[in-house]
């Protein structure tokens, strides 16, 4: 495929694997880059040193470009920014905040920056900086989320923002890819579907929870502390929902939520672990290799395009 994004990054398909804390390590990122997409290491709240090791690991496994996602709420963020600049990774995506104050150092290191934004407001603000593109992430996404739907956000940003838009949130297959491109995006970012791959090293229980999930299985908690997070419903989520209703302090919330993502990812605790996943979990029904996921998304997008094309040609529906 050829879009602004594939040309800019020299990748085969305009498919980013979303950076996921504790989940997307150098191994998964390299697998995605080798499959023709852009793998992204999720720095989460890991210290700079750990992130650096994952970057080095990815470099050993692929000669293709890959990226690092920087979670701006992390206490280690300054250190992680230093590491990615030092390592001169190809791409940085930023999440959960405004990366404005880091833009200068990232730019100086020659890194292409794609901030993840949930609103037009933040996208406009960040357009002042030399960003390579912008990831419009709708509220369907997993982990830290906004509340505007992907459908509206991607169309809006494609219309209003001059840099290439990557659509994220709710996409897990070729129909989603085609729809995003139709809305004006130059690429897509997918997270949840890549958790359910052979190369992803999370606990099997986490993968199984995604396979079982239906369209209403994920819930957003943490709205009262203004840090909304989407996860698959379990005991932890019900507890956090109760805390939301009781409007407990961010500190109390943090005590319960802290470490719960790690519990889910590494220990497979599906009841008290934080099973971060997007609504697209409902679309993920099997565990495949990363290459199979990427190739099937592209093949399916072709089919979906042919089907739509026939409508315009007046041929009728199915191909």
């Amino acid at each position: 495929m050829k879009t602004e994004i594939t040309k800019m990054l020299g990748i085969r398909y305009p498919i980013f694997q979303g950076g996921m804390a504790w989940v997307s390590d150098g191994h998964l990122a390299a697998a995605v880059s080798n499959a023709g997409g852009l793998g992204i290491i999720g720095a989460g709240s890991a210290p700079g040193k750990v992130v650096q090791e994952e970057i080095k690991k990815a470099r050993q496994l692929t000669d293709k470009p890959f990226g690092v996602n920087i979670m701006l709420m992390s206490p280690e963020v300054d250190e992680v920014v230093d590491v990615v600049c030092q390592e001169r990774v190809d791409v940085v995506t930023t999440g959960a905040g405004n990366p404005g104050k880091y833009m200068q150092s990232l730019e100086k290191a020659g890194i292409k920056v794609f901030p993840i934004v949930p609103t037009l407001g933040l996208a406009k603000r960040l357009s002042r900086y030399p960003i390579a593109g912008i990831i419009a992430e709708g509220g369907e996404a997993g982990g830290h989320v906004g509340d505007v739907s992907t459908m509206v956000l991607v169309a809006l940003l494609s219309r209003e923002i001059d840099v290439p838009v990557i659509a994220a949130g709710g996409i897990a297959d070729g129909r989603g890819l085609l729809a995003a491109l139709a809305l004006g995006a130059e690429g897509v970012q997918l997270g949840t579907v890549f958790v359910c791959t052979e190369e992803c090293k999370v606990h099997d229980n986490y993968k199984k929870a995604i396979l079982r999930a239906k369209e209403r299985s994920t819930k957003v908690t943490g709205k009262t502390i203004k840090r909304p997070v989407r996860c698959i419903e379990n005991q932890l989520v019900r507890k956090l929902e109760k805390m939301d209703r009781e409007k407990v302090s961010p500190e109390e919330f943090e005590i319960i939520a802290a470490g719960s993502l790690r519990e889910a990812v590494h220990e497979g605790d599906v009841e008290m672990g934080s099973l971060m996943a997007g609504q697209s979990a409902a679309l993920v029904n099997s565990i495949k290799s990363v290459a199979e996921v990427v190739e099937s998304i592209v093949a399916e997008a072709h089919q979906a395009r042919d089907r739509v094309d026939n409508f315009f040609k007046g041929v009728g529906s199915y191909v």
Binding site: G97, G100, K101, G121, L122, R125, K226
Partner: protein, 75 residues
């Protein structure tokens, strides 16, 4: 109109609070109910209203109405 009055207009509209609540001591997040995305939009509204540019490093430090007033006055 004073700076505080102009600010009160913008902030009350943006955050859905009464202009009377927009006092210098009011904290955007804790007292006026803003989230980080509201603040980004608010900062840009202030830039338009007062015809100035507020860099992110400065914007980050403006956590109360009073701090915003002081910043605008200093420009």
């Amino acid at each position: 109109m004073t700076i505080q009055e102009r600010l009160a207009g913008i902030i009350s509209e943006k955050l859905g609070v009464e202009p009377a609540e927009v006092i210098p001591e009011a904290r955007f997040i804790e007292d006026l109910g803003a989230d980080s995305l509201d603040i980004v939009e608010l900062i840009m509204d202030l830039e338009d209203e007062f015809d100035l540019e507020i860099p992110d490093e400065e914007a980050e430090k403006l956590t109360t109405v009073g701090e915003a007033i002081k910043y605008i006055e200093s420009q």
